[in-house]
Amino acid sequence: MTWWTSKVNDPAAISGNSSFEETVQQSIVLTNMESMVAWGRKNSVWPFNFGLSCCYVEMATSLTSKYDIARFGSEVIRGTPREADMMIVAGTVFIKMAPVIRQLYEQMMAPRWVISMGSCANSGGMYDIYSVVQGVDKFMPVDVYVTGCPPRPDAFMEGLLLMRDQIGQERRPLNWVVGPQGIIKPPEISLKETKREERMRMTSLRSPDEI
């Protein structure tokens, strides 16, 4: 669906001939139920107010004015997992905390998604140490991995946008009785691969001696 905004007194907004075809084009959307629901889901991914360590500060920063994830419908942070759609595992996954994290995940209602934010949550990162689980995917599913230690808010937002796209393409049963059950997910993509060419083109880097 394409859409646009216009100013009240903008003559372009009232151009046209007010014909029946035009009115229909402007006011009726034809879609199927699945796409409509997917579009709604995609644009209102409410995050769970949950953080573990350093990454949480950068995640919280993405809510503030300079980054502002409200632009993508994700500013509604929820204090309880029961009202949230997305859990951002922002920080180190401690062994002492793992049973708690799993319980919180299980308390979220489907459809639910998980972003693993930062090296610790992805793989343990620099903390290959007795008290840290080597990646949150050892005990629960993850949809998107965001790299960095901690990732910049921009990197987190890229992960969020990636997940929104995936959610938009996802097909879930509309009903637990009617039609085929099970979730059809779009193919997983690796940004490492898709961005390779762009990365290889970067041959001259800014000197650290200049601001």
């Binding site: 503030t64 004015s65 008290s131 005990f139 200049e210």
Partner: protein, 578 residues
Amino acid sequence: MPDIVSILKDKFPQGILSVQLTKDEFPTLWAEAGSIISILSFLKKEADQPYSMLYDLTAIDEQAKNNRGEHPESIYTIVYQLLSFERNSFIRIKVPLTAQTVIPSITAVWPSANWYEREVYDLFGIKFTGHPDLRRILMPKTWIGHPLQKCHPARATEMAPFQLPEAKQVAEQAAMQFKPEEWGLEKTIADDELMFLNLGPQHPGTHGILRLVVQLDGEDIVNVVPDIGFHHRGAEKMGERQSWHSYIPYTDRVEYLGGVMNNFPYVMAVEKLGGIIVPERAQMIRIMMSELFRISSHLVWYGTFAGDLGMLSPVFFMFNDREKVFDIVEAICGARMHPSWFRIGGVTQDLPNGWKNLIQDFIDYFPKRLDEYDGMVMKNSIFKARTVGIGIYTTAEAIEWGITGPGLRATGFEWDFRKKQPYSGYENFEFDVPTGKNGDCYDRAGVRVEEMRQSLRIIQQCVNNMPDGPYKSDHPLTTPPVKKNTLEDIETLIHHFLNVSWGPVIPPGEAFCSVEATKGNNGYYLISDGNITSYRTRIRTPSFPAMQLVPLIAQGYTLPDLMAILGSVDYVLSDVDR
């Protein structure tokens, strides 16, 4: 006046075993376990200019050490570090433990020893006789072994892969179940049945993964029991495996809002061990970056504290200003939160061209914002009603419980390590030490707000007086040594190669260094065994004692006050649990 070492030797001829010389030149004495309580109570209560603060209590596993020196035989050594404000100096008492791993508890002398002794028990397996509540504090209750023993594996990948089957999930949850009797809490007072409220480990008001069990009589708090350790990242064990140089990034993450401020005490301690003199320019760059991080850390606190008390907008303003600080940090260090930018012997690289204008713009911009925030937060009547007269503690209580930093100064005691024990050239700066009067939540907030202004003054002086010269020492242990010299002589090339590939070899010895960090006094106690890694890295953080004090200052207030108290203490969970 005779020095404290000879006084102690005269007073306890049997108790004092020997005297040790350390690189930090603190009086360091070995004492016998049987007389430790009398020695410590003498130092606290009877000695002239007493050592009134139990600054740190930790242990060392000596079993893998090669350079033992002339010191008494020991398998584990318990280390007590005390601070005297009158003398403005530290003292260190070490107790060797041989066959038996039992020592009398000193909780009767300092109640604040409670958590420290629990930590030593948890991580080393040493038992303290007479301790009121000796159970694990950092590791889960179900953990087997004591992680800081040399025989315990360090890496997760050396241990069995982590799995969480349903049965384990249930068992772990059951082990975390709160049972008042196990925690020494009464279920009733007189005829009233008390309510227990579990807060955390996941709760928006706890600023991280902290669990508090609150014992309530109606809305009034009878007691609070913190359950910590959810954020234990094994930072001390990590120091025994990373090279001296490659440990620097881990220090950033100990107090994750303080950035390079955390590198500061660590590199200073290594430099003390290695005998490295840091050039003036590097010293001033370090101060400038640390003060920028003090501002950014205080801004996070300012916004979230106001948020805790129901004000939604301040956090947006303050995080925007924090972005401005990060723009500078990023331009100079190349990263935002954890630049790991200090190096042994200096800093990573020289300041980039144009740094002055960048910082000057911020200095010109920020004071007006602070004034605006005063109007928005500090003068707000609701904010005042929620903080004035709430969570009070006195100077004496602060000292008794090991509180440093803004939390100590808010009680009216003007004690700032930047003034009292200047390091890295702080003695050359003009700045005031803001203090409070009542030691309540409002005063703690006021001290931090004023500290941001003072930090700006310091940064302005750095901009005006930045000396020329090298940004790194030319000492061979500097890591990595200055690159251009490597192309001129073979000696530097060899050092460069070794320091980069193996890491520097720091001569045997031990040293403690601390800085006035954002949350209080942050110190690193490093022991070198003449190797490429540290033998023991002890991190003394300000948030650990602050968290231990929370129950005492919360008693008698109501539940909403607890949120104000937690916010005003300004801890970071990674700083509590390390």
